[in-house]
Symmetry: D2
């Protein structure tokens, strides 16, 4: 773990890339979910976890995680236009739903205003049986640590 | 308009491409929204509308539509794994929310089971002022025609 | 095999989607490679092959193909702007490089002019050892059939 | 300009995200071009340029750059498999082709080996007439500065 302050692994920043826009001149909507997922991965790494232990990567069919974390639900609200070159602050709020399921709400803040908000909900399943199973220990710890001492920003 | 039967413009099919998957072996979640948007465009074309009249394309800065239809909300539920090569039936259900806003629910059906469902909500704004405005006539007509005589499939 | 005429599996069409554009109002360049790959998959299916036999899909870790076909090189030339709603004709030209390697050149034609051209080169490797191996029989047959009786279009 | 050392704006790093992979367990090929373009944007920003001055963003149809930089050619070679969680070093080598055209070669290095290499070639065109024009001053300066005192890494 790199720090005891959740802000260090739950708050990121992003400068919007040209390739994420469409011909209306603003970000093409579903790229927000890519940003959410990438911010989550960045958070896990900053917290001290190894993505190779969490995500399948089939390197010679070894190193397969025992648990998969498929997405069962996601949603997003778009509040204001996001343009190429915009500086965004990204704030993650993880939450356990039950012992099999957790979600991450991700706020995208532009000049102190909420520009967009995404939410992704994961289920924990056994990689072999594809049946529901307990969340991995490491994810449980990341969620719990994330809610300790967290300075809630009033956005 | 190519037909008086909404099924002809509201029901499509898709064979899942390899590039839409991730290393867990199933579709990477947010590609579903790309499918939703593409199915909507396909529907408008089949109904008889021209995407060049509806979407900005900046061809020499001419042909700009007067109205933009930004997405203000989207969500998806994933019910079962979707693999490369799967045959999906796609069923669109458009609905006006009010005179400024409409949504399209898109069901993805695999072997008679609902594999996933997406929903996209659009707001109508004036391209110049970026203020809320009445939905374009053509979209209103497409939504109304879509709910006439529609044979509801019990999925 | 659905037909003895390679044109039936080597020539497709595409109406450009809004989501493939960027804020310059034209397609964002690398989406062309997605189109190339999808056109190739479509071609294999039309020829009579099953994508589930050719591409890994890890359904319960069964049905893994014995051979992977990773891409070792790709390139594209962009000749003229491609906009949302454009009708494109897609013409595939497969070619064996040697017994381990093949490529597919894909032309994108807009109103009888070459708008863009993509090329993807695949190597055949053993899924277990990850070593170079002979191209799968089915791919060899698809390439050979594709060059028989092909009516070459003067584009 | 943030530094006189081109390495500070030409060398970046990246941890590979899960969403960039496909069902073969490695990165899906064309995502490499997204990485190339994003690394280029990052380089321009680190050098001191504002992406809003270089890329179209149509904010209320104002702030349109006078020059567009469409991609006329791109290519990539893939040398070894790239997995989720891999740490990549990214090294950019910009080069003017002539007064209208420049290219950026981007090397992706994994554990001191070249894993992949991408190349993107841009043409400079007048945003209004869409005719070939001189490269923007800022881009010329970025290319020139990039070749001064550059420590060439022997990869």
């Amino acid at each position: 773990m790199t720090s005891n302050n959740p802000d260090s692994w739950l708050i990121h920043s992003l400068i919007v890339h040209f390739g994420d826009t469409d011909a209306a001149g603003v970000i093409h909507f579903h790229n927000l979910f890519r940003w959410c997922h990438e911010a989550w991965e960045k958070s896990l790494i900053k917290y001290g976890l190894n993505p190779k232990d969490l995500f399948p990567h089939y390197q010679n069919n070894k190193h397969l995680p025992k648990i998969f974390l498929p997405i069962i639900h996601c949603e997003a609200d778009f509040k204001s236009a996001i343009y190429t070159g915009d500086n965004l602050n990204i704030v993650l709020s993880p939450k356990a739903i039950n012992e099999f399921c957790f979600q991450i709400e991700t706020k995208f803040i532009k000049e102190n205003n909420l520009a967009a908000i995404g939410l992704i909900r994961h289920l924990s399943i056994d990689a072999k049986t594809r049946q529901k199973c307990l969340l991995p220990e490491t994810i449980v710890r990341w969620i719990e640590s994330s809610s300790i001492n967290k300075i809630h920003k009033p956005v």
